[in-house]
């Protein structure tokens, strides 16, 4: 039986989290058929083979360039039928969630999201309570959908070449009832949920005019920037950077928190980071309890020094 992987794209590139999904499917064994929707840049499809995919179904249709939820669900259901797949693997994301839910009903497939490890038979382990616990879940249905959490599985890089096949799904007007009229995206930046390193700032940074310092550190590290909730509430930073229980959940290798107190709702969104560095002038800040490394000092003094030290290391 084949496993179908939904390979999501951003800016015509296959997302790293989707390549993790391909790697995960490859580790499950068997044929891994990835579906790519919309146009992509040259060389992108090859990454699927490298990550362990055996075949790519490419629906190279500009109509599918945008994240049209309903149409994506229909196309994936058709692709699963075509590939003879009883299992679909995808990366958890705001689009992935929305699409997988509809696909699950279409296929009569049990869906488990936020999965953090390879399945053991019919059982998968998922993160719950915003990373504060895990649940072991059994899938009872014959067909299954597994949405994996980002950075939860290693990325395979030594796979071979995947055969690319053109795929022309039957699109119905009913699937385009919700119309996307425009998109605004920060170009060329590391996407926060995808990032391997995240540098986040809180209210301790005093105002939006001080973010240059955070961005400079992030640039030196090739990191994405994030923030605490009050920072996005006060519109110092855009909403899509808000990290935590009610914002974006991140699970990078390294999370650097600057001037953030470490309220439980913020921690909930970052506690599956591999390493946490906290910079806070209050040595009693609760965040230090969740940190691996801490600097109890004024951010305005520490951050420029840290940026210099990283730059020196890079050179």
């Amino acid at each position: 039986m084949a496993i179908l992987v939904f390979a999501e794209t951003a800016d015509k590139k296959i997302k790293k989290s989707s390549l993790e999904a391909v790697s995960y499917a490859a580790a499950m064994g068997g044929d891994v058929v990835a579906v790519v929707l919309g146009q992509v840049e040259g060389g992108e499809l090859e990454k699927i083979g490298t990550s362990g995919g055996t075949k790519v179904l490419h629906a190279d249709d500009a109509k599918l360039n945008e994240g049209v939820i309903q149409a994506y669900a229909s196309v994936l259901a058709e692709a699963a039928g075509k590939a003879g797949a009883d299992t679909v693997v995808l990366a958890k994301s705001s689009l992935g969630d929305a699409v997988a839910a509809r696909l699950s009903v279409k296929m009569g497939a049990g869906l488990v999201s936020n999965v953090v490890a390879l399945p053991q038979g019919n059982k998968v382990k998922r993160s719950i309570y915003t990373g504060k616990a895990f649940a072991n879940v059994e899938l009872k249905s014959g067909k299954k959908i597994i949405a994996i959490k980002k950075n939860a599985v290693p990325l395979k890089t030594d796979g071979g070449a995947a055969a690319v096949e053109k795929f022309t799904p039957s699109l119905s007007d009913a699937d385009f009832k919700a119309k996307i009229t425009s998109q605004e995206k920060a170009k060329g930046k590391v996407l926060l949920p995808e990032a391997d390193i995240v540098v986040s700032g809180g209210r301790g940074l005093k105002g939006p005019e001080n973010w240059g310092m955070v961005e400079e550190l992030a640039d030196a590290l090739g990191a994405a920037t994030g923030c605490s909730k009050p920072v996005s509430d006060m519109e110092w930073r855009p909403h899509h950077e808000h990290v935590g229980q009610t914002g974006v959940k991140v699970s990078p290798s390294l999370y650097i928190a600057i001037g953030i107190s470490g309220a439980i709702q913020h921690l909930a969104g970052v506690n599956s980071s591999k390493y946490i560095v906290v910079i806070n002038k209050d040595p009693e800040a609760p965040f230090f309890k969740a940190a691996d490394y801490g600097v109890a000092a004024d951010a305005f003094e520490v951050v420029p020094k840290l940026t210099e030290a990283i730059k020196a290391l890079n050179n």
Partner: protein, 245 residues
Amino acid sequence: MKILVCITHVPDTTSKIAFTDGNTKFDSNGVQYIIGPYDDYALARAVELKEQTGGTITVLNVGTVETEPTLRKALAIGADDAIRVNVAPADSFFVAAQIAEVAKAESFDLILMGRESIDFNGGMVHGMVGELLGIPSISPVMKLDVEGSKVKMTREIEGGKELLEAELPLVAGCQEPIAEWKIPNMRGIMSARTKPLKVVEPSAVDGLTVTENYELPPAKGQVKMIDKDNIGELVRLLKEEAKVI
């Protein structure tokens, strides 16, 4: 306009998470339950829409009798009536199927709920309800306006946002800043006591997944404190010990 708002009954965001019975049950001892924060946004937007265009708001929860105070709170915030589907939620599909059954019988124009619950963080129910009803489902929605039969929405996407339009009926999974949270006032609390709360029995649906047991993450080790005058040491640790840069 008839609006349905689906709300979850979840542990307060500051709750300490623990399990009992050999890690098979959530330990609700000392836990305060609240309306899911994302559902609160959905409800708040429904109240604003009702103020603008009239209509009714029904709140719905799939849950046992313990969830009634949460439904009453939603009534106090401004819903007109409440429905409780009298069954413990089994999994997302089970919950979605119960919601869809109620929705089919009552034909709502707009179904709002949070983008995800804060207990299981599935983010699946809105999409499943949309598919079961054969109507669009959009999530996560951070702005939603209704103009006649047309709905204009802003959806958060990674690294940005997109604007969408669709016709009613539809399902939206909501998040901030779609509306300001509403706090119940005294009049709301008084009137909530007499507003109708209907209990309906569940439809026969099987869940597709079963949670067998729970685990807690391993305890965190001690933090290593680094002197502010020795930032080079932090960089060395990140490179050599943690191997993350």
